[in-house]
């Protein structure tokens, strides 16, 4: 019993740098009074660092044949190595799930022996859960780069989501930090899965009997701040992944120093949390607000501004697009106003049918007036800042607000 506790703590600890914890996007319904049901995701709890815990996220083993500089389980790292048996993972998942601790399983693994050998184990666990335990919860499996198409196909039949981590956004960075890996091995399974998912999805529309295949699609993760990449490189990579591989999500993980390696930031240096946050904001702008990557970062502005959010940053560079009249403009324009979210934009469109909206009503709807007031016209409000220079407006906004993240950083600096 203590043994399994030890294994759990080692293998959960090693898996925690994988940030993906989503459990949504699938629609696996409970059949014949089995166990579990998957729908909209649920975060069952949050760790003290504020990240969601919705899945039992573990490695099958932390034995690994690779030596990637940024990874805790790299071969050259002197740590204790353990592995779970198939049955242990199954028991943990089922028992945690029955107590409503988790939405399902996120299973990753170090590579032992070779890619196929590892992948085969992962698939066996998923299969056992689905077939022997009639488990309908969420399963997220890692696709091991270099595994055979047959195994990846089988994984898709049992898992809701599959993912391959890109890890390092640039090819040169990958060569430097993980010389044994190559980009092509990561791209190949992603391509294979994209094709299978579309193919079987179309088939499913015609033949109801077609088995469901990775219904929550695939995702990936990039480490931020380990290889000196620019935001431009990251954001363009993300856009390419969304467009060419139809990924559901790209995750960004601020690098947590785990190694004394002169190729990497030193142990103890701060995790780039603000930058990570700005990248997620950019990601959202691309996915939900209709922005293109080159509007937010480009040759001229390769880095995202840290003190203001990327939408405000874009607006200040493009003052000629403003002011926007919230009572007349189309949805895609309203979405471009700093301080207006997707939900607020939709509510504005609905509400204005019953009469023009004024500042007070916009505030109640949830618009952040503090930022929006420099860019809009509404009932009873004329735009008086139109002739102001961008840096002036930025000053005004920064003077009246403080980013949560920056405040935290000031506090941290004060300590020393």
């Amino acid at each position: 019993m203590e043994r399994i506790e030890e294994k759990l703590s080692i293998l959960a600890d090693a898996a925690k740098y994988d940030v993906s914890c989503s459990s949504s996007g699938s629609n696996r319904k409970n059949k014949n009074k089995g166990l579990g049901d998957t729908g909209a995701g649920i975060c069952h709890t949050y760790t003290e660092d504020g990240r969601c815990v919705s899945l039992l996220k573990i490695l099958l083993t932390n034995f690994c044949i690779y030596d990637c500089a940024y990874c805790v389980t790299r071969k050259s790292n002197d740590i204790k190595r353990v592995s779970f048996t198939v049955q242990e993972v199954v028991d943990l998942t089922i028992n945690f799930y029955r107590r409503n601790y988790i939405e399902g399983l996120f299973l990753s693994s170090g590579i032992f022996k070779n890619a196929d050998y590892t992948m085969e184990r992962l698939v066996r666990i998923a299969k056992k859960l689905r077939q022997e335990h009639h488990f309908n919860g969420y399963i997220h499996l890692k696709t091991i780069p270099g595994a055979s198409d047959e195994l990846i196909h089988e994984a898709g039949l049992y898992a809701d989501r599959l993912s391959v981590n890109i890890e390092i956004p640039t090819e040169s960075g990958l060569k430097l930090l993980a010389p044994e890996k190559n980009r092509q091995d990561m791209v190949k399974p992603m391509e294979y899965l994209r094709n299978k998912i579309t193919e079987l999805g179309e088939e499913k529309r015609i033949f109801k009997k077609t088995p469901i295949f990775a219904p929550a699609g695939q995702s990936t993760q990039m480490i931020i701040g380990a290889s000196g990449e620019t935001d431009e490189q990251i954001v363009f990579m993300a856009q390419r992944l969304y467009r060419d591989f139809s990924l559901k999500r790209v995750y960004y993980s601020g690098y947590v120093p785990v190694s004394c390696d002169n190729r990497l930031p030193n142990i103890g240096s701060a995790v780039p949390l603000v930058r990570e946050n700005r990248l997620y904001q950019t990601d959202w702008l691309m996915r939900f607000y209709g922005f293109q990557a080159d509007e937010l970062v480009n040759r001229q502005y390769p880095l995202l501004e840290l003190d203001i959010d990327p939408k405000l940053s874009w607006a200040l560079r493009n003052l000629s697009c403003f002011p926007i009249d919230v009572n007349r403009a189309a949805l895609h324009l309203i979405l471009r106003i700093p301080g207006v979210g997707v939900r607020s934009a939709q509510q504005i469109i609905m509400a204005r049918q019953y009469g023009a909206l004024d500042m007070e009503q916009l505030k109640k709807i949830g618009v952040s007036i503090n930022r929006a007031k420099y860019f809009i016209i509404c009932r009873g409000y004329k735009q008086i800042y139109s002739d102001q220079a961008a840096h002036k407006i930025k000053q005004y906004i920064l003077a009246t607000s403080q980013s949560k993240y920056l405040r935290r950083h000031c506090q941290q600096l004060n300590l020393f």
């Binding site: 019993m1 399994i4 506790e5 759990l8 703590s9 959960a12 600890d13 898996a15 925690k16 740098y17 319904k29 409970n30 009074k33 089995g34 166990l35 579990g36 049901d37 649920i42 975060c43 069952h44 709890t45 949050y46 760790t47 003290e48 660092d49 504020g50 990240r51 969601c52 815990v53 039992l56 996220k57 943990l92 028992n95 945690f96 029955r98 107590r99 409503n100 601790y101 009639h134 601020g254 947590v256 120093p257 995790v271 949390l273 509510q347 609905m350 509400a351 049918q353 019953y354 009469g355 909206l357 009503q361 109640k364 709807i365 935290r408």
Partner: protein, 242 residues
């Protein structure tokens, strides 16, 4: 509640305030009192009429606002519903009106509580294989989560008990029913006795796991508390070892 709206239309009253039964009543000098007794036919007529005016999600919002049990929320419901009958097209979207917006916002609050309960309920396995959980939600959300749990845990008997409102829902492998349990004084002792032998082990494993997935370098307690407010900690297994 619906009967009240029916009667307010029936008698063309102007409503000044609404009181629930045990509440103390503040009567205005020139106000008349009228006691409303729930009448199913009248209520159903209002509900059916609303169904013609509103899409299902807006009806759901009204139900959630009712379950919020916020003091004096009945008044907002009353004015909003009268507005819904005023003949405006899609009246529930008129967010310029404060009562309509408030309905939307409170429904959102109740919905968040419903969602939190789906997340924060922690079952513990008893000797007779009953999975039991205690909750104290801000709003009366049990009716909103029963389907979620009966869909999910279709092969185990479970009981979710709202300690604050003193009733629970129990699933007996066939259907969900509302129950009221008379807990004995030495219930706490019994609970320990009746626990399944494996329960403690999995509880420990879960606590261990919770501790281990935290990345110390990224600690952000403010965010943690924002997501898992303190009032829920009492019933959360992973927050018991502080």
């Amino acid at each position: 509640m619906l009967t009240l709206i029916f009667e307010s239309f029936e008698y063309k009253w102007h409503i000044a305030a609404i009181y629930k039964k045990p509440e103390s009543i503040q009567n205005g000098l020139f106000d008349a009192m009228h006691e409303v007794i729930t009448n199913e036919t009248k209520a159903l007529r209002v509900w059916n009429a609303l169904r013609l005016k509103l899409p299902p999600n807006a009806l759901g919002d009204l139900y959630k606002v009712f379950l919020s049990e916020i003091t004096q929320i009945e008044m907002t419901l009353c004015t909003a519903i009268s507005f819904y009958f005023s003949g405006v097209d899609k009246p529930h979207l008129a967010y310029g009106r404060s009562d309509v917006l408030r309905i939307k916002q409170i429904a959102k609050m109740v919905d968040r509580e419903r969602h939190r309960m789906k997340a924060f309920i922690r079952f513990s396995r008893q000797q007779d294989d009953l999975y039991g959980a205690m909750i104290e939600p801000d709003f009366n959300v049990l009716p909103l989560i029963r389907k979620h749990f009966s869909d999910r845990y279709a092969d185990q008997r479970w009981l979710i008990y709202d300690v604050k409102r003193d009733y629970g829902i129990y699933y007996n492998l066939q259907e969900v029913e509302e129950v009221r349990v008379a807990f004995s004084k030495d219930f706490q002792e019994h609970k320990m006795l009746l626990e399944h032998p494996e329960e403690k082990r999995y509880r420990n494993l879960w606590q261990q796991y919770f501790k281990q997935v935290n990345i110390v370098e990224r600690k952000n307690l403010k965010l943690h508390i924002q997501h898992v407010p303190r009032r829920y900690w009492k019933h959360l297994t992973e927050k018991q070892i502080l």
